[in-house]
Symmetry: C2
Subunit: 390 residues, 2 copies
């Protein structure tokens, strides 16, 4: 795992949080082609509103991220604070402040303690290094219990290209949007339209297919920066080179989405819900997410209870094209065929559901739409984590 060429990272404790890193910086030695995907929640945090505006021109050179406070529901003052953060980082790095994106994650409501943040930014700038990505990763985590970093290397036209993705997030996860914070840096040389295409398409097939609790955050953001340092011939169209890059980016985002889902708050197991034979991709996604978000399904999974009736009921209210008498459900082995239970052994399925990672395969036998949704079970520990937070 290495830093893509031309990128530096850092992470420090600014004092927003007690005794742990809470402020991170990413910096590219030259302005990078960049794009972002943001929360579809109508209540958007100030940094999201800011980034959505500055990303329009498709160039970024730095990203400052704090954890502990979300800077959401902070009105005009929140937006002014973001503006000041970007200006300070621009000044410190001697770059245009409009090339600086800002992200925040944490509590909704409070204002940022600007003095701490700005002093912290100074230390972020002075401690930038190629190896700083672990510090950066630590600085952006909140209730996460594991780091989420995925790295891929590819070759295009003899040039080595590195892609490094870093995420945070383990609750309030139901994209249909960016979900959580994710920052991807790469030294690939690519045009803005092709970078957009790659990001939007991979996001839809990765982060937008995980769900922990069905809640959608005010701060979800994915930002990607491609600085061209690898000097490959610029990717400008959907050719073979684009495909190589697309597949690598997909692997990075898929890997990150997997880590985020795996780290779902209080989860005891990761659950892959594969929908096949849906009328469309959109139906498959909806079916998968509805099953994944059903509290009754989630609690049954926690108890390793092969309660297929709850899955059938969830499919029934998903609002998709369905013929109940065609549905097959496989949990380890086929337990429902044409809408009716097989003579499966409860004990065998219980044993399968006791694993750390399980798969539920649902075949609707209507069309060719497919989607794989990642989720977790709903546990006592989830409730412990979330009853006292604010």
């Amino acid at each position: 795992m290495r830093s893509p060429s031309g990128f530096k990272f850092s992470g420090v404790n600014s004092g927003v949080r007690v005794k742990r890193k809470d402020l991170g910086l990413i910096y590219s030695e030259k302005p990078a082609t960049a794009w972002g995907v943001f929360t579809r929640n109508k209540v958007k945090a100030a940094p999201v509103l800011y980034d959505m505006e500055i990303i329009k021109k498709g160039i970024l050179q730095a990203i400052l991220v704090n954890s502990g406070i979300a800077n959401a529901c902070t009105g005009k003052r929140g937006l002014e604070d973001v503006q000041r953060e970007a200006e300070e980082v621009g000044k410190l790095l001697n770059i245009d402040s409009r090339l600086v994106a800002i992200s925040s994650t944490g509590k909704i409501g409070p204002y940022l303690p600007m003095e701490k943040i700005l002093k912290g930014a100074e230390r972020c700038v002075s401690s930038l290094s190629e190896d700083g990505f672990l510090d950066f990763s630590d600085a952006i985590l909140t209730t996460d219990t594991i780091r989420k970093i995925v790295y891929e290397e590819i070759e295009i036209g003899g040039k080595e290209i590195k892609i490094l993705g870093i995420s945070k997030g383990s609750g309030m996860i139901n994209p249909d949007m960016a979900t959580t914070l994710t920052f991807v840096t790469t030294d690939v040389n690519i045009s803005l339209p092709m970078l957009k295409l790659a990001l939007v398409r991979t996001t839809e097939r990765t982060f937008n297919l995980i769900t922990v609790d069905g809640d959608t955050s005010t701060n979800d953001t994915i930002l990607v920066m491609a600085n061209g340092f690898s000097e490959n011939e610029k990717i400008k169209r959907e050719d073979k080179n684009f495909e190589i890059f697309y597949n690598a980016l997909y692997k990075v985002l898929k890997g990150l989405a997997y880590l985020v889902a795996k780290d779902g708050e209080g989860a005891t197991k990761l659950v892959k819900i594969k929908i096949k034979g849906a009328d469309s991709f959109s139906d498959a996604k909806r079916a998968g997410k509805t099953v994944a978000n059903s509290l009754l399904v989630k609690t049954a999974l926690y108890g390793s209870d092969p309660n297929w009736g709850r899955i059938m009921a969830a499919l029934g209210y998903a609002g998709i094209v369905i013929d109940p008498e065609k549905v097959d459900i496989k949990i380890g082995e086929k337990i429902v065929e044409n809408g009716k239970p097989t003579e499966f052994s409860r004990e065998k399925i219980r044993e399968y559901l006791g694993k750390k990672e399980v798969e539920i395969i649902i075949d609707l036998k209507i069309g060719v739409g497919e989607a794989e949704v990642l989720t977790t079970d709903l546990t006592h520990e989830y409730i412990n984590i979330n009853t006292q937070y604010s």
Copy 2:
């Protein structure tokens, strides 16, 4: 609390469940004007499919209900079983089997043990009595911890009219449909179109506004029978008499919905979410249900944590017309004004949230749409109840 004139009830143990009543019967001495509202889940239990068919003519004389087995996902055999139940009850009561509705609640998947059910039906018929409604109520409960019976008396043109409503249900509750099982008997004299109007309108404003876990059952049913024994002048249009009846029916359904929500699985408190100032009733309902179904809101409520940020986030992804900077939220007192927190005392709000019944009032200040959604908190006990059921 009395039985409406001309109605008899019973409840017995048929042997489907161990040592508790599990089969109930309602009988009207004459055919009654009747209507029903059913689950919108596309996976419908056999008795729902059957009732939807026979209710079309608007007449019923008896309803047989079993608990323990839902007769859902049982295909052709499930439908044949329902048919046999209706025929047997028709024979025993010496009435047309097409005047007999059937309901079931319980586990999805298994077939009904028809021998037990048919023998039980015989005992139901022989034990019918005017005072049998408590037995009937006990026979239809599942995970319920309290009986749900609401009674109203009104007078129309000097005639006394009685309305008796009986429900079951404490989980898998998210109507937008009928939710749970509810049976209303009344001796009012009313035309079918007016009965339909009253039922559909009151359901939309009562049962369709409660939600415990966002899950929507395969068996949800509300059936109302009006046998005309009170001999009031027939209600045929939306006049003052209709209004008197409508208001009483509303009280009965509202009371039952309240009892069902209050009995939400494992809940420690009942939460009323009042949405005001929405763009429409439909927006208000959607906003209220989204807040009510947010796991993060529900767990915060369990912990009596005034986490208004989670409420704002839920409003943001509800898919409604919203201006985040206009939103007011009141929990005991105003804690958010124009999208930003007031200087409220956390301790005071925590104390308020510690009560058995709490109110969250959200004013969107957009239009005049209003709705009141009933829900509960999400607790360790909910998880205990639902991890092992099938």
